[in-house]
């Protein structure tokens, strides 16, 4: 029984489900749109997970970079004739460059100061987008962002094709995130999270590593933002707002900060929850706010972390039971 539910099989089933999903809901544009939106946010939250979950620096400018990605794509595609795919690449690069510059300064600050610094930078990005009328359209937003250009025979006019496009980006993003976390680099980040002083003592260049992980996380946000712009085809300054970054944070915390599947679980859960509770949009936070607090207090690694803890406990429990029934008196320590 346990063999069927191992990690690899679950992943395969999930991917098959994601591939088959449009066939079930082919006619329902709304469902497809929400699902695609969820995937885009998931990419962004994976980025946040790298800097906040693994390197341990709570960056509250994440929505700002999401917006920089979205606006870069929007401005490039509406004001120039550049090919969409080149524009997408440029948007990610612009966002990363912005992240690099900010990271150089912001990462000199630590812990709370970093959170405050990035919160204010995020707010400044919002104000800039809101006030810089000629470039960003200000409060009116940016309208008429084109859909992705066709690649050979592949066109992206339908909701389904957009879904598959975003799905590909999501899978690649998750793959990259997993590879990073499981590599020596990922372990370096975790070392920095657990103790920056200790990591430094071990000869890790913490400033360089923090900067790289920050740029990676920002690149994820930029990619997600650019995809968001081409999906919704209309963007306003509110995507850089504090509410957006708080949403990302909520997805991450509830799903499981510092876990590999947390961003996916948290984001998809909340994107659908928000749809079901759409009628009560203003009051959603009455429930979500306290959930955030309860999770941080009682299960700091979110749903996914809580699940693994429970699984560990069950396994230990079974082991003890087994060893007891085999040898009722002695507890065999080798079995551990």
């Amino acid at each position: 029984m346990e063999k069927i539910f191992n990690q690899r099989n679950v992943i395969i089933v999930l991917i098959i489900f994601a591939l088959v999903f449009p066939i079930i809901y082919a006619d329902n544009r709304y469902v497809m749109h929400v699902m695609t939106l969820g995937f885009i946010f998931t990419i962004s939250v994976y980025g946040m997970n790298i800097i906040a979950g693994y390197t341990g620096q709570l960056s509250l400018a994440h929505a700002g970079f999401f917006a920089i990605g979205a606006y870069s794509l929007g401005i490039i595609t509406t004001k120039t004739e550049i090919n969409f795919w080149l524009a997408l690449l440029l948007s990610v690069l612009i966002t990363s460059a912005a992240g690099f510059v900010l990271g150089l300064f912001a990462l000199r600050t630590k812990e709370h100061f970093f959170a405050i610094y990035t919160l204010i930078v995020g707010y400044l990005i919002y104000l800039m987008i809101d006030k810089w009328d000629e470039l960003t359209g200000g409060v009116r937003g940016l309208i008429g962002i084109p859909i992705p250009d066709p690649i050979g025979p592949l066109t992206f006019e339908t909701a389904t094709s957009m879904y598959y496009l975003v799905l590909v980006f999501l899978l690649v993003s998750i793959f990259v995130a997993v590879r990073i976390v499981k590599s020596l680099t990922g372990r370096t980040y975790i070392a920095i999270r657990n103790s920056e002083e200790l990591a430094q003592t071990l000869g890790i260049n913490t400033r360089f590593n923090k900067l790289v992980s920050f740029v990676i996380s920002v690149a994820f946000a930029g990619l997600a933002g650019a995809l968001y712009a081409s999906l919704t085809r209309f963007i306003g300054p509110e995507i850089a707002g504090t509410n957006m970054v708080f949403s990302f944070l909520m997805y991450l915390i509830v799903g499981g900060i510092g876990t590999l599947s947390g961003p996916l679980v948290g984001t998809m859960l909340f994107v659908w929850l928000e749809q079901f509770l759409k009628g009560y949009q203003e009051y959603q936070m009455l429930i979500f706010g306290p959930i955030l607090i309860l999770i941080v207090i009682f299960s700091p690694t979110g749903i996914v972390g809580g699940f693994y803890k429970l699984k560990d406990k069950l396994q230990n429990f079974r082991k003890i039971k087994k060893s007891r029934s085999a040898k009722p008196v002695t507890l065999n320590s080798d079995e551990k």
């Binding site: 104000l127 706010g289 306290p290």
Partner: protein, 287 residues
């Protein structure tokens, strides 16, 4: 010249409010090392309670403020007990997240109970006075007077009473404070109560000038953070000086540079300061 004096006066009013909010924030940070993002929610609730008490019962402005002070101080204590106390041994990132959770909760709560529209708070101090060419309303004078009184009372409390001294002791050195038998729980609750009371006062005296609405805490809390970082986390004199500097800079900037960008000035100031001095100006050693 008249315009200049007028802007100094406006800047002092603005600075007074920033100072009151920032003192609460800096006290909490000094004692518990938490940057309480939810401090803006205390400010928000403070404004609404005063307004609603006045509307519902018709009592005098000052009585409404006292009710508001009590309610928000209690709320501050609850915040410490229910949320920050269980998190006292967690990594700092958790405190920040929990505080954000509270921000989201309180804003939605205010919208649920009192609606989303902007509301005016009428006070008995709406009359206009003109001194030496500077036009002022009674309310703006009240803001400055109340701030001075509150700051003096707070300083006396901190310096002259046992409770106040224990708050200062814990801010200076936690371990040493525990060694001499200071009750950490009591001090933490007291600090949150004071911070809440200050936020309630600030909101109540600022609201007749700025209106009452669910997002009123956002900008104020961000600016209070600017003040606290300029003045040094945990320092009350720093918060007073930095609060006034920020108020004056903003009102001058709004007049002589651009009204649109007056909010940006404060934040750019902070970014520059933190870029040069990552722990803020006047930061004393390692926390």
């Amino acid at each position: 010249m008249d315009l200049f004096l007028q802007q100094i006066f406006n800047g002092l009013t603005l600075g007074s409010i920033y100072t009151l909010v920032a003192i609460g924030l800096t006290l909490v940070f000094g004692i518990l090392h938490i940057p309480n993002f939810a401090h803006g929610s205390l400010y928000l609730i403070g404004g609404y309670v005063t307004l609603m008490v006045m509307k519902a019962t018709g009592v005098h402005y000052f009585i409404a403020i006292i009710v508001s002070i009590l309610v928000v101080a209690l709320l501050g204590v609850l915040m410490e007990r229910i949320v920050f106390h269980p998190l006292r041994n967690s990594p700092p990132i958790h405190d920040n997240i929990a505080a954000i959770g509270m921000v989201l909760f309180f804003e939605a709560l205010v919208q649920l109970i009192w609606g989303t529209e902007y509301q005016r708070m009428l006070t008995p101090f709406g009359n206009n006075i003109s001194i030496a060419g500077v036009a002022m309303t009674g309310q703006r004078i009240l803001v400055i007077v109340v701030t001075v009184i509150v700051v003096v009372l707070l300083t006396l409390f901190l310096k002259k009473t046992m409770m106040g001294a224990s708050i200062l002791a814990m801010a200076q050195n936690r371990e040493a404070a525990f060694l001499v038998g200071i009750n950490a729980n009591k001090v933490a609750m007291m600090t949150f109560a004071i911070a809440g009371a200050l936020a309630a006062i600030a909101a109540s005296i600022a609201s007749p000038i700025n209106l009452v609405f669910p997002a009123m805490g956002h900008l104020v809390i961000l600016k209070a953070f600017v003040v606290v970082i300029i003045g040094g986390m945990g320092s009350i004199p720093g918060a007073i000086i930095a609060g006034l500097i920020l108020g004056l800079t903003e009102s001058m900037g709004a007049t002589y540079i651009s009204n649109d960008y007056k909010d940006i000035i404060a934040f750019l100031l902070l970014i520059i300061i933190m870029t040069v001095r990552p722990k803020g100006l006047f930061a004393k050693g390692v926390y």
